[in-house]
């Protein structure tokens, strides 16, 4: 009298099998057409057209495109990509749909401009994006800051950078460092402290995890570069004074040229090589360092960005 037991059994087994099968097939589909959905952006006639077609749901669509941009960059970044062709269109569509999505501009500033593998290597597209953002959000100092940042870091165009920082410093509630940065551009553009100030600003004022991790890595790299310069200077002075290289940092401490045992920003001891150079124990953890790497060091294809928390 009950529901047919046989039908129930067969239908249940089929249901579970189909569920498993559909998951496997979806994974297969992802492999077959990796990024095919994203490639649609190449067919979008213009972001304005898409906005009109979104029937008023442009905010939601902007969020979706923003997620796609982050996913796109993140996935390719971890695969060690050399090209990020879709990042610019994705961000442009996102900001056209929602011109007030500040984090999208920040993301663009940090990952669109730098050269591969750290970014898409499109500083001009990034500048266009920032100028578009500034037109739509003239009161947000982040965008001026980001613009100056791109000029400074990626184009080494200190004049335009100073100009961008100066424009930003006049916005109400602007970060006080913008005025300082604008001044620094003229005389101390290559100074390590200027760079540090900029990365600190980025680190402190963003909510985006990957932007934060990127800034933290840069700050650590600046610290390493500074440490290594100082330590190697001390080694050189020791050699000058005693005629031979120190065998360990202990010799430098004993000579009163160093306090304590030097550690890198991640808390590991620096290495002193027999030919008097200072090296990191694990240079792979410091993607952007210019010093402290062994001779002939090749950085890993995929830069290692440690999480900030």
């Amino acid at each position: 009298m009950k529901a047919s037991r046989q039908t129930t059994l067969i239908a249940s087994i089929l249901l579970v099998a189909c569920l498993g099968g559909s998951v496997l097939l979806l994974r297969g589909l992802d492999r077959v057409r990796s990024g095919a959905t994203l490639e649609e952006v190449l067919y979008v006639p213009s972001p304005q057209a898409l906005k009109r077609m979104s029937l008023g749901y442009d905010g939601l669509l902007a969020d979706i495109y923003w997620t796609r941009a982050v996913q796109y960059f993140g996935t390719k970044f971890h695969a060690g990509a050399e090209h990020y062709d879709l990042l610019a269109p994705l961000l442009e569509i996102t900001t056209n749909l929602d011109p007030h999505l500040i984090v999208a501009y920040q993301y663009g500033g940090n990952f669109l401009a730098p050269k591969p593998p750290h970014g898409a290597g499109m500083p001009q597209r990034a500048i266009q994006l920032m100028e578009y953002g500034i037109r739509n959000n003239p009161d947000d100092w982040h965008l001026y800051y980001q613009l100056g940042f791109i000029y400074y870091m990626d184009l080494k165009d200190y004049g335009h950078a100073a100009d961008a920082f100066a424009r930003g410093s006049r916005v109400p509630n602007a970060h006080p460092w913008l005025k300082l940065l604008s001044g620094f551009m003229a005389e101390r553009a290559g100074d390590i402290n200027t760079a540090r100030m900029m990365w600190t600003t980025t680190f402190e004022t963003t909510y985006d995890k990957s932007i934060k991790a990127n800034a933290a890595a840069h700050l650590r790299a600046l610290q390493v570069d500074e440490d290594v310069t100082k330590l190697e200077g001390a080694v050189a002075r020791y050699k000058e004074r005693s005629g031979h290289l120190p065998s360990s940092f202990g010799d430098l401490t004993a000579a009163g040229m160093l306090r304590g045992t030097p550690r890198d920003p991640l808390g590991n001891l620096y290495k002193l090589t027999s030919d008097g150079r200072v090296e990191l124990q694990s240079p792979d953890d410091f993607p952007f360092v210019e010093k402290g790497t062994p001779p002939g060091y090749v950085p890993p294809r995929v830069p290692k960005l440690l999480p900030t928390d």
């Binding site: 009298m1 009950k2 529901a3 047919s4």
Partner: protein, 313 residues
């Protein structure tokens, strides 16, 4: 052989959206219907007749108990091919014509494709719809739909047919025709199980009846057996304006209409009453036994619980 065997069929529905309260639609029901009989399933509206039929058709699942039709389980497709069912106030695919509907149902019941159209035509004639076969069912009246319903129930020559309120929506002519049809079905050796709340239909047709009320079986048996348990009365009619006082003493309740008087009293007092009339020289016109009706039995069976139910409210 037993056509229908109901073994403790019980159905409790849960009503209410948030807090489900059990509502008993059918208390454990035990009964049997023999092959070849017309069985009437009687009860007032809401007694559980339709629930029982739906349980038998496998449309709802019982809370407990089971039933067998022609010795097979209710979900057995082989059994389903041998039964016919007319639901209460049937409603059909109104975009079909009567003929299309019957052919479709014939197919579902396993009638071979070659025979479907002939069989449908025969059925339409049998229920008096031969002119309306090509008409879409949305244009059918309630009575015509009832006829289509009967046609679809007997179309595949089932051994047992179940009719839920087959006379409802029919005019007196139609009721007569349905009665005749059920009689024919019995003559063809089929078992007919039908529910009704109209007692005269049952009385005229049934070999046996069951009375159900508030989900509970109150009585089952042949119409004659059930009615004989009620006391028999006679009706006397005589001419002359007076009513003898001795007659009143016998419990007669006279109704005077012009110069004729009519009174009913227990059969046992019949002789004494006739004697009294003769003594008064009144002219006796007729003595007619009043057969106890199913209605009397029915009323008698339903009364106690209604009183209890009424008292509870």
């Amino acid at each position: 052989m037993t056509a229908i065997e109901i073994l403790g069929l019980e159905k409790t529905y849960n009503v209410g959206f948030w807090r489900k309260r059990p509502k008993c639609a059918l208390r454990p029901l035990h009964m049997q219907v023999e092959e070849g009989e017309i069985f009437g399933f009687l009860g007032p509206n809401g007694a559980g007749k339709t629930t029982t039929l739906k349980l038998l058709m496998g449309l709802v699942f019982p809370t407990s108990g089971s039933a067998r039709i022609l010795g097979m389980e209710t979900h057995d497709p082989r059994m389903r091919a041998q039964i016919g069912f007319l639901p209460e106030q049937p409603y059909f695919y109104d975009y079909l014509t009567a003929r299309e509907l019957l052919e479709y149902y014939a197919g579902l019941s396993g009638v071979p494709a070659k025979e479907r159209s002939r069989r449908s035509q025969e059925m339409l004639e049998r229920v008096g719809l031969h002119d309306a076969g090509g008409l879409q069912l949305r244009k059918f009246s309630k009575g015509m739909l009832q006829r289509v319903g009967i046609a679809q129930a007997i179309l595949h020559e089932p051994k047992v047919v179940f009719f839920d309120e087959p006379m409802s929506g029919l005019d007196p002519m139609g009721r007569r025709e349905v009665r005749d049809l059920m009689d024919q079905l019995r003559q063809e050796g089929k078992t007919v199980f039908f529910s009704t709340h109209i007692l005269s239909d049952a009385e005229a047709l049934c070999d046996r009846v069951a009375i159900i009320h508030l989900g509970e079986l109150r009585g089952i048996g042949s119409v004659a057996d059930l009615t004989s348990s009620a006391q028999n009365r006679v009706e006397l009619i005589w001419q002359g304006p007076s009513v003898p006082s001795s007659l009143r003493a016998l419990g007669a309740e006279p109704h005077i209409a012009g110069s004729t008087v009519r009174a009913t009293l227990l059969e046992a007092n019949q002789d004494a009453a006739i004697e009294a009339l003769r003594r008064e020289r009144l002219r006796l016109i007729s003595v007619v036994p009043v057969r106890a009706s199913l209605e009397d039995y029915f009323v008698q069976k339903l009364k106690p619980t209604e009183a209890v139910a009424g008292g509870r409210q």
